[in-house]
């Protein structure tokens, strides 16, 4: 069983991993801060958070990049450096693999969804049931469109 202290140490380790500015962080350093051997740290971390420390770090970097692309004015290259990537190519590849579009295309699409500049759309950063209404509106639209097509054939 996990003690609460072990859980808190793992949560702190996750916080450290999510601080995207520090490029030089190693697993050994984070494990040491969590007072575990690297082997136990990776095993326990993955059991609690469902991802390896490396996956959590990459996700945090890409997530921070998303926010900066939507809200800030910095260039893609500046954002790439800001979130701890040293190569524009690896940043763009990872970003596109996760989001399905390049960082600049993501910025363009995201901004077209924001009605008031400086306010992030709830579609982009949803919480607290904000997806429910749009989801059922989409479902109804699909239903109507399917029924319409059937009607047209009859």
């Amino acid at each position: 069983m996990f003690t609460n202290e072990a859980l808190v140490r793992l949560c702190r380790a996750r916080d450290v991993l999510c601080e995207v500015h520090d490029r030089t962080l190693t697993i050994d350093e984070v494990a040491r801060e969590a007072a575990m051997s690297p082997f136990h740290f990776i095993r326990r971390f993955s059991a609690v958070f469902g991802d390896t420390p490396h996956q959590v770090r990459i996700k945090a970097r890409l997530d921070r990049a998303r926010h900066l692309l939507v809200d800030g004015e910095r260039s893609v290259t500046e954002i790439c450096m800001e979130v701890g990537f040293s190569s524009h190519g690896s940043f763009s590849t990872l970003f596109a693999r996760r989001m399905g579009v390049s960082p600049s295309e993501y910025r363009r699409r995201a901004r077209s969804m924001i009605a008031v500049p400086g306010t992030a759309s709830t579609h982009l950063f949803p919480a607290c049931l904000s997806l429910m209404g749009p989801a059922f509106a989409i479902l109804e639209k699909q239903h109507i469109s399917r029924s319409g097509r059937v009607g047209a054939c009859e």
Partner: protein, 130 residues
């Protein structure tokens, strides 16, 4: 007014859907894409199929801060009822689920607490026998 829907924030909806169906054993009810995210709900396999749990992305920093704060304090985000908490504990443990509290009696109920791998602790409780 009826209580038919509740929600839990998750740090990754794909991972959450896998865990909540394959490990907890719930059944997917809705999975509707909405932009980058999905409206996903699950229902219990052996309970009321019309009482849904939404697996919501914790993409909003406000929600994420709340979720992380609960976890750091060891506070469960929600609770699910089970028939036999000891049996569930053994089953989930065998699947690699981490428990922060083994089954323990608290008054007439028995409780255990585990991690859902999506940023939450979940309390499992066995109600008193009728």
């Amino acid at each position: 007014m009826r209580i038919k829907l509740t929600s839990i924030m998750v740090d990754d909806q794909d991972k959450a859907l896998r865990f909540y169906t394959q490990v907890f054993g719930f059944v997917k009810k809705h999975d509707i894409p909405v932009g980058e995210y999905r409206w996903i709900t699950v229902v219990s396999a052996d309970g009321h199929a019309d009482v849904e749990l939404s697996l919501e992305p914790n993409a909003n920093p406000v929600g994420r801060t709340f979720q992380e704060g609960l976890l750091k304090q060891g506070i469960p985000a929600t609770a699910f009822e089970v028939d036999d908490v000891e049996r569930e504990y053994q089953r989930l443990k065998a699947l690699g689920v981490v428990f922060t509290q083994e089954p323990a009696r608290q008054g007439p109920i028995t409780l255990a607490v585990c991690a859902d791998t999506c940023g939450n602790l979940i309390q499992l409780y066995q109600p008193p026998s009728p």
